[in-house]
Amino acid sequence: MGKKMFLVMTGLCTAVLLSACGTAAPATVEVTRSVNQTVVVTPTADPNAAAPLPAGSVQINGAGATFPLPVYSAWTFAYQYVDPSVVINYQGIGSGGGKKAIIDGTVDFAGSDSLLKDEEYTSGKDLQMYPMLAGAVVPIYNIKWAKEIPSGTKLPVMILDRQTLVDIYNAKVVTWNDAKILATNPDLAEYLPGEAITAVHRSDGSGTTEIFTKSLTAFSPEWTAGGASAVEWPVDKAGNGMGGKGNQGVAAAVINTPNSIGYVELSYAVSNGMSYASMVNKAGKIVVASAESMSSAMSDFAGSFSEKLTADIVDAPGALSWPIAGYTYIILHTENMSDCIKAQKLLEFLRWALTDPGAAKQASDLGYSVLPEDVRDTVLGKLGEVTCNGTVLLP
C-alpha cells in the first residue's frame, strides 16, 4: 500500500469515524495493522467529509506541567499515525508557566497540576480545566538496615499509616525504630535502625508538594503547615529536613542520604528503582500505589467535581484507594479559540487520548493512572461543550 493511500484513508477515517480509528490503533508500533483495520470502516465514510489536510499542516502548541510530559509526548508521538495532518507540540515549562501562557493566549492548551485561582478565571474568561490523568505520590525511603539481611531473602516493603507519615514530617517520629513505625512493620522490627530520620522535601514550588501536603492535612489535624505548592516544613525547624529540587532532586537526595525518607511521583520511584512504602489508608487497609488503587481513589471522588471539573482526591475513603493522589489537568479556552480547524483537531486528540485503549496502555506503562469510566465520561461530556465561533466542535 502506497504512503499516499495510507494518509488518505487515515485522514478520512479520522475526520469521520475517529473513535473507530482510535480503537484500531493500539500503539505506535502497530501502524500497519491499524491501517488494515481502518480499510474496513472507510466505505461507510460520509461522502460530505472534507478532503484530508496535508500531513503536518496543523500545528498545535501546548505547554505546562512537567509531571505529565512523558505521557503527553508518547501520545503526541503515537497520534501522528492516527491523524498525520496534526503535529502536537507539548513543552514542560511548569504548571505556573502553563497557566500564564493559556491566560495570555500564547498556547492552544496548557497542562497543569495545580488549580486556577478564581481571579485567573476572571482574566481568562472562558477557561476550563479537564482532568486527563492522575498521579500517585509515594513515600520513598533509603534505610541502612541495622542487621545484615540473610542472603536470598528480601525484606518486605515498609508500611506506613497516615498518622505516622504526618508525625515524620512534623518531626514527632524522629528515629526509624520508633514504636509507631514498628507497629505497622513487625517483620522489619529487628532491621530498623535507631538512627535519626532525614525527611526530604521539594525545595521548589511544586504540584507534587501540593498533593503531598494536602494529603497530610487530610490525614491529621496535627499537620498545621497547610496544603500548598510550598510550605514551611516543621521537620526543617527541627533540623532533620532536607530540600531537593524537582522530583529528580528529591530522589537523588534520598538515594545519597542513608536513613532518609522523601516523596516523589510514582514514575520517578519506579524508574530510579527505589523502595517506596505502602500506606494504611482511611479505611484501615494496606494499599500499594498502583493503577488499581489510583482508579479506586478517583472513583471515590467521581461525584465531587466542581463546576470547573476540579477535585481533590487525597485521603480517599475506599478500601482499595491510594491516599496520596492528584489529577493533572488540561486547560482550554472553551469559546475563544481563534482557529477552528486547530480547535477541532485538538479536541479530537484529547478525545482519542481519553478513549483509545492504546493511549491508555501507554499511560499506564509509564506509571500514570488513567481515568475510571465514570470520571472519563464526565470529562468527555464537558469537552463536547467546547465551541468555536458558536459551533460545537465534538458532536
Partner: protein
Amino acid sequence: MTNTASSTHFIRARRGYTRRRTANAVMLVLTGLTTALALIPLFWIIGYVVYQGGQYLTPAFFTELPTPPGTEGGGVWNAIQGTILLVILAGLFALPPGLLAAFYAAYYPNTPLGIAVRFSTDVLAGVPSIVIGLFLYALVVVVQGHFSGLAGGIALAILMLPTIIRTTEEMLKLVPPSLREASLALGAPEWKTSLQVVLPAAGNGLITGFLLGLARASGETAPLLFTALGNEWFDFRSLIRSGLESGMNPLEILVRIIEQPVDSLPLTLWKYAQQPYPERIHQAWAAALVLMAFVLAVNIFARLWILFRARRMKG
C-alpha cells in the same frame, strides 16, 4: 675602608638578589599552581562531558527527531536545526544595529549619545538573560499570540548585542585615525570611508567579535524558555513539504518556519536532564557534548583567526 664598605655593599646586594630570586621562584610556583587550579575545572568539565556524552553519540543522534521518553533511539535533529535557525536569526538581527552603534560609539566617543551608547551597552550586558526572555515574551509572544523561533532569535540577538558592540568598537579604535583622515581628505564621504576603508581594516576583529557573541548566545537556555518554547517536531523538511502541499509560496513557508516554536541544544539538554528516564539522561549528556563542541569550535576558530591574521599583518 672603602674596600670593606664596598664588600658589605656587595654582600647586601647579593643577599637582596638571592631574596628577590627566591621570592620570584616562590611566586612563580604559586601563580603556576593557581593557573593550574583555574584550568582544572575547565578540563575536568570537558573530560567528564566527553566521557559521559561520548558513549551515547550515534549517527541517529544527529539525524533523527526525538522519540517519546522511556523509549530507546531518536535524536536531537530538531534541536540542531532549531539551533541553526536561532543562530541565523540572532545574527541577522544583532549584526546591523550592533555595527552601527559601534561605529557611532567609536567615532563620537565624547558626545552625549556616544556616552549613552557605551553606558547602555554595559548595562545591557549585565541584564540577566531570563529577564530578556520575559521582556520578549511580553513584547513579541503575547502580541503575536504564540511562541516562535522569531521571538527566540530576537532574544538571542539582544543577548549578543553588547559583545558585538564592545568588540567592534575596540577594533574600530585600533584602526589608525590617519587612515580615516586620509580617506576623508581625498574627498570620500564619511559613509564610504567607514564602509570601504575602516570596515575592511577592522574586519577580522569584527568577525571575531561576532563569532564570540554567537557562541555565547548559542549556549543560552533561559531566554528561550519564554520565547522559542521548544518543539520536538521542528524539521525544515517536513515544514517545507507540508507548506508546499498546502499550496503556500516560498515566502509563506519561510514565515511559517520562523513562526514555529523551536528547540535548541541547550533547551533540549535542560529539559532532558530533568526526566526520570535513563535514555533521556544519556541523550542530555550527548547533547551537552555536541553543544560544548560547537561552542568550543567557534571560540577556537575565532581566536585562531585573530592569531593568524595578526601574524600575517606583522609579516
